[in-house]
Amino acid sequence: MQPLLRVENLVKHYVAGRSAGSRDKLVALDGVSLSIAPQSTLALIGESGSGKSTLALCIACLEHPTSGSIWFEGIDVAALHENQQRKFRPQIQLVFQDPARSLNPRWTALEIASEPFIVRQDTSKQERENKALELLDCVAIPRRLAIQRADELSGGQKQRLAIARALALEPKLVILDEALSALDCSVQAQISNLLLELQSSFGLTYLFITHDFAMAAHLADQIAVMDRGRIVESGPAENILRSPSHEATRSLLAATLPFTATPSIRLEL
């Protein structure tokens, strides 16, 4: 099947140090290639600082890669002009790690959920609010919370709201950038089940970024492991979990030992 997203040899350098003299480069992405089939989930796993979030921002057209291409439905979005990118951006939406910072603390839940429609400018206020209320229903936020401000909601509710906002413009790809990491276990389970439901009812494709193998195993069809700006291992989720071949994969697996460890790994420790 034709992949929805195909990233080819993506490179991103940052200029480190702000003083005028230094020209040190920070290599965040060092030739990353991956692809995601429509309506599937790819889990991107790696330690913090391995370049996962940079990759997410590049794919969502919020950072310009230094080189390489990002093919989305046959278009190289990395090569688009700023104006074209702006029109393209709604197709790929992000859900961020920290729900407290990803929602405007001055706005009510309803305002946040209807904000994406304001950007489009083609709907009346009434229509926008109706659509926003439907979105809140989709993510199971009670309607009585619609008038609450974001900073008055619980962590799980905030993350549901962030998901609702991401779904507003009917994106094809949703990037979940450590979207479950800041939540406690029971809420994590609720939200991950919600994500699975939404995926089957809306036909969504997920890029699920995490450092937690247990969650990846629960949600993903494919797993790619990232280490220092490179994909070091990728393949079907079960294969990677059963026989990890790269050192980075094994150390990440060891970190989630209680859920996924196999006897052989336990012996190595």
């Binding site: 702006r86 939406q93 405007n104 904000e115």
Partner: protein
């Protein structure tokens, strides 16, 4: 509403405290206006004593303070020894000139600082931002006095601008339009000096506040919805960064009377600055106390104004205030 009421009450008590302290310190400072007369052999000690009695300088301090407070409550501010007239009209005439200068300069400074700060924050760490950073840092370390003197030297050398004063000789015979032009011409240099003194601080604050919120994921999310970059900067980011800037604006308003003293003295602008300096040197007690009180009223009112603005601008403050 109760929040604003409480704030206003605070302000009144603050002003009372300040007036008491100013009065105390000015009155307790050694010497008074009539000391110089006493050294003059042509004036008899009896005359000096009579004058002291007339101006009630022989009464105990609490009585004088009470008298003065009563006068303030009735819109007067005591009597000037040097001008032999009530203080309030004297102060008002000077304050008007000062406000003409500072209101213009403050408005222009903010109008320049907002776009410049946002523009710089949007390019944080890149070459244009570094140029802005260096320029503002350089301006920041130049003392206001040097700035004003430098501008004065330019005025003297080129003759493009007057070197002081409010209006030209023969101002009264000019047509209204030419009067305005003459006034603007005289205001140019002091206004530039005030803007150059205020701008670096404002730009740096705007830049820092906006740069900080630009990192916030909710702005990234808005950009991800397809929001144009300019709208993101001026609509979303500037509003999200507004709280510290509103407080700073309140402070700007608060220093409208007191912030330009130095520039006024250097550029001989007939405002509150030279007037107060003269009064301090002459120990013209009520003028000094009145001038300080007036500046304090502005400072307190500016902060109150900022509180009102914050209350209006941030729903979180509204809820927190009504919850109490």
């Amino acid at each position: 509403m109760r929040y604003l009421l409480r704030r206003s009450l605070h302000a009144v008590f603050l002003l009372l405290g300040v007036s008491l302290l100013t009065f105390l310190f000015s009155a307790l400072a050694p010497g008074n206006y009539f000391d110089e007369m006493r050294l003059n052999p042509q004036i008899s000690p009896e005359t000096v004593a009579a004058l002291r009695a007339q101006y009630q300088l022989d009464r105990p301090l609490p009585v004088r303070y009470a008298h003065w407070l009563n006068a303030v409550a009735h819109g007067q501010m005591g009597f000037s020894f040097a001008y032999n007239s009530p203080v309030a009209p004297l102060l008002w005439a000077r304050a008007r000139n000062t406000l003409l200068l500072t209101v213009t300069a403050t408005l222009l400074a903010w109008l320049l600082a907002l776009p410049l700060g946002v523009w710089s924050a949007a390019r944080f760490g890149r070459a244009p931002d570094r140029v802005v950073s260096w320029t503002t840092a350089t301006l920041l370390v130049i003392p206001d006095l040097v700035l004003a003197l430098g501008l004065l030297i330019i005025a003297v050398r080129t003759g493009w601008f007057p070197t002081g004063g409010l209006t030209s000789v023969g101002f009264d015979e000019l047509s209204p339009l030419n009067k305005l032009r003459d006034l603007a011409w005289h205001m140019t240099l002091p206004v530039i000096a005030l803007i150059l003194a205020a701008l670096p601080t404002l730009v740096r604050h705007v830049r820092a506040s906006v740069a900080e919120v630009l990192e916030a994921p909710f702005l990234r999310a808005a950009l991800g919805h397809g929001l144009p970059h300019s709208k993101l900067l001026y609509g979303y980011a500037l509003r999200a960064a507004a709280n510290p800037l509103i407080s700073l604006f309140g402070f700007s308003v608060g220093t409208l009377l007191s912030g330009s003293l130095l520039v006024e003295v250097v550029m001989s602008w007939p405002g509150l600055g030279p007037f107060l300096l003269e009064a301090i040197l002459a120990r013209d007690l009520y003028v000094v106390v009145g001038g300080v009180l007036l500046s304090m009223i502005f400072l307190v009112a500016g902060n109150l104004f900022a509180d009102v603005l914050l209350y209006w601008a941030d729903p979180r403050i509204r809820t927190a205030a009504s919850a109490k």
